[in-house]
């Protein structure tokens, strides 16, 4: 192995790639060659370093300097300053948060990385990097020292629950699948992370695929499974590629295939790529899709533990659940159970998005409050605006308000509040979001993704959407809110799978917490957040207007009239409420009213 005095790790996650990370890597290589440093300094491509919102990002070791936001043109300057002159370039330095936060004080636990521990630290395309951080040691321990029953016991005692969102105890699921007297048995990994706003699993698959694979092999040993599938959505091409490389390398090293680690234990694995269907995240739909059918859910029981892929016992867990397993085996169930709340143990990854100052991926211990996540970890609301609501649990979760900010996050607390843990997307909204519009938006999504198999979901979601559209359009009538509520309860109660059962949650939770906004739309024909087009109008404030005519020139429908240097007016009947006048006005003279 060659010796390098410095290592530059450049993040090549899709988010940084979208901002030109490969250009930075190429420029870096060229510049190092030009400066004669290429034998001393190594450039590596890695995944997640920071939040990726200020990408491209890079880490320089051994100094541990974290740079963000540079582009290819900045590279020669950076190389000269940092690597020739030895001066850290403060301009590009990420100073807002420590990169690896392992030294956590007992009083204010914020980020704790278990699942994300290797992301951005190792090269996901090289199994030796994973081996260097204790990779596959847990597998060795399991095969060498533990019986399958002992493994299941350890996982059960750790308190690990299904990270796909439903929270079924992982150890119990393994035990159920193990005791079914049928063979062969299959391991399934649900990597069909479809919730809008959730991208935690993508990060793990792209940054540390072996932890998921190792978790699956350990599970296969415990359950007695001989083959496995990772069902990954096609929207994640890089994750698919990384997984395939990782599986090939694991096979070469004897962790997959026949006679694993020299024993008579056989297990192999393949990646199945979806073709764009949200409902395939539901386990029975997912297994149908693996078998080459339409991804339509079927009633349970029989549960997949009894009849899953190819009608055989199949254990299905989520990416994050499997990624936790090697650490639980290595560090012990007690260590894992020491984190979290009484019934929700360990850590949870969340993707924080929407109107926060620092969106991105985080991993926090269960039991942390929403306030800590939004204000301490994610930097608060963007542009100093006021917090309004947060959607947890994706499109089938609920909107939580100010009064829920101090709720300790665990499975039970969230469902009691009318939402759910879900896979871990958090969409934070400030005062400029209209909650009726948001509910309509989520319903638009679930309605489009309904597979159409069962009537309550197929027709019910459409009727709910129509009612919401009517209310947003300012055509709501007396009785509509009650009808909406009834319909939501019917759809939730009678739908076949989690999609239909959860689809009304955003409507029900916003109806509960923001009923005044719905009432304003229906009875006063007013949108308090000034979002719904039919319920707002624009007005030019005469004292502030200088008569510069910019708005009149930009209006697409010529609704603005007025003489030069005289205050202008908007013809409300002609106006299509596109808001362009407000955007182009240099004097803030245009206001929106409702």
């Amino acid at each position: 192995m060659s010796f390098y005095r410095s290592h530059i790790l450049v993040c090549v996650d899709p988010e940084c790639l979208a901002k030109g990370a490969y250009d930075v890597v190429d420029a870096m290589q060229d510049e190092l060659v030009a400066q004669g440093l290429i034998d001393e300094i190594q450039v590596l491509e890695t995944s997640r370093i920071g939040g990726c919102s200020d990408g491209p990002e890079m880490m320089v070791y051994p100094e541990g300097v974290h740079y963000v936001g540079m582009n290819a043109d900045d590279v020669p300057f950076l190389v000269e300053e940092h690597f020739l002159k030895g001066r850290i370039v403060e301009k590009f330095r990420e100073i807002h948060k420590p990169v690896v936060d392992e030294e956590l004080g007992p009083l204010r636990p914020k980020e704790v990385r278990v699942v994300l521990r290797n992301c951005g630290e190792i090269d996901p395309m090289n199994i030796e990097d994973y081996l260097a951080v204790d990779g596959y040691q847990a597998l060795g321990k399991v095969i060498g020292e533990m019986t399958p029953e002992k493994v299941i016991d350890e996982v059960t005692r750790s308190g690990l629950r299904g990270r796909g969102g439903a929270g079924f105890p992982a150890g119990r699921k393994w035990a159920l699948t193990r005791q079914v007297p049928d063979s062969p048995k299959y391991m399934v990994c649900n990597a069909d992370e479809g919730d809008p706003g959730a991208f935690m699993n993508r990060r793990v698959l792209e940054g540390d695929p072996h932890s998921v694979i190792e978790g699956m092999i350990i599970g296969a040993y415990a359950i007695g499974a001989s083959y496995g599938y990772i069902y990954c959505r096609a929207e994640y091409p890089l994750a698919v590629e990384t997984l395939n490389v990782a599986i090939t390398q694991a096979r070469e090293f004897g962790f997959l295939g026949k006679n694993i680690l020299g024993t008579d234990f056989n297990f192999d694995l393949e990646v199945r790529v979806g073709a764009g269907a949200f409902v395939c995240g539901e386990e029975t739909a997912l297994m149908a899709s693996i078998m080459g059918q339409r991804g339509e859910p079927r009633p349970r029981p029989p549960f997949p533990s009894v009849k899953g892929v190819w009608e055989k016992p199949s254990n299905n867990n989520n990416v994050e659940t499997y990624a936790n397993i090697p650490q639980i085996i290595l560090k012990g169930a007690d260590w894992y159970a020491s984190m979290g709340t009484e019934r929700s143990k360990g850590t949870k990854t969340f993707a924080v998005g929407g109107n926060v100052a620092k969106p991105g991926l985080i991993e926090v211990p269960m039991g942390i409050t929403l306030r800590e996540i939004i204000f301490d970890v994610a930097g608060g609301i963007k542009d100093g605006k006021k917090y309004k609501a947060v959607q947890t649990g994706g499109p089938m979760g609920g909107c939580l308000t100010e009064k829920h900010l101090d709720l300790p996050l665990d499975y039970e607390a969230l469902s009691q509040a009318g939402s759910m843990m879900g896979s871990g997307g958090l969409v934070v909204m400030d005062k400029s979001s209209c909650m009726v519009d948001i509910a309509r938006f989520f319903m638009d999504f679930t309605q489009a993704e309904s597979c159409g198999k069962c009537t309550p979901c197929r027709i019910g979601t459409r009727r709910i959407l129509e009612l919401l559209q009517k209310i947003c359009d300012g055509k709501g009538e007396h009785g509509d809110l009650e009808k909406l509520e009834d319909l939501c309860h019917e759809v939730a109660k009678n739908s076949l799978c989690g999609l239909g059962q959860g689809a009304p949650s955003p409507v029900l939770s916003t109806l509960e917490h923001f009923r005044d906004e719905y009432e304003a739309h229906v009875y006063e024909k007013r949108c308090p957040a000034k979002v719904c087009r039919n319920l707002i109008h624009y007005e030019i404030q005469a004292p502030t207007c200088t008569g510069c005519m910019v708005c009149a020139r930009n209006c697409p429908v010529e609704a603005i009239t007025g003489e030069r240097r005289q205050a202008h007016t908007i013809d409300i009947d002609r106006c299509i409420r596109c808001g362009i006048c407000m955007q182009v006005c240099n004097f803030n003279a245009v206001s929106v009213l409702s």
Binding site: P14, A18, G276, M291, Q391, F442
Partner: protein, 165 residues
């Protein structure tokens, strides 16, 4: 551009896809995805050809055209309609929506004079929405073919579109 594929070309694409993925029931979705990727969509001739090559009662392998069609229309990423040379996929999901996605969507439709799912008369552009691609921290996001663009602003749209022939 995806010129109307001739039948011999379709046969070859189908043949290659089947050789790669095999003649088993669980290979059907990978085969259709492969065809969609090679031809830009799945023409009716390709569906017929898949059936001809895979359906084999002697081996108890039964495939009907209706079954293939039902798969091709169920999954969003498979298209049975021809598409333009470049496909713009716009993420319309909540995280992008709350950070200004709607203005981008409106501007895209206006600039291209297209509605969701439509193709320009010169066959250059097809505009569609996509499910969340997980790039939420750099929203609004759009994809042109396989190229990702994050933190898109209305001003950047023409510049982005100008990069494609």
């Amino acid at each position: 551009m995806h010129a109307p594929p001739v039948v011999s070309a379709i046969k070859e694409v189908v043949q290659q896809a089947i050789e790669k993925h095999g003649k088993t029931p669980d290979a059907l979705i990978p085969i259709l995805s492969e065809i969609n990727h090679a031809l830009g969509y799945i023409p009716a001739e390709a569906i017929r050809e898949v059936k001809r090559q895979i359906h084999n009662p002697a081996e108890r392998m039964y495939v009907a055209e209706s079954q293939l069609y039902s798969l091709a229309t169920f999954y969003d990423m498979l298209s049975t309609k021809a598409r333009g040379r470049h496909v713009i996929k716009f993420c319309e999901n909540a995280p992008c929506h709350v950070v200004g996605g709607k203005a981008i969507w409106d501007a895209l439709r206006k600039d291209l004079n297209l509605e969701n799912g439509e193709t320009t008369p010169d066959n250059k552009w097809t505009l569609v929405t996509t499910s969340c691609i997980g790039l939420c921290s750099v929203g609004p996001v759009l994809l042109v073919d396989d190229d990702m663009y994050g933190n898109v602003t209305v001003e950047q749209i023409l510049d982005i579109l100008g990069r494609y022939e």
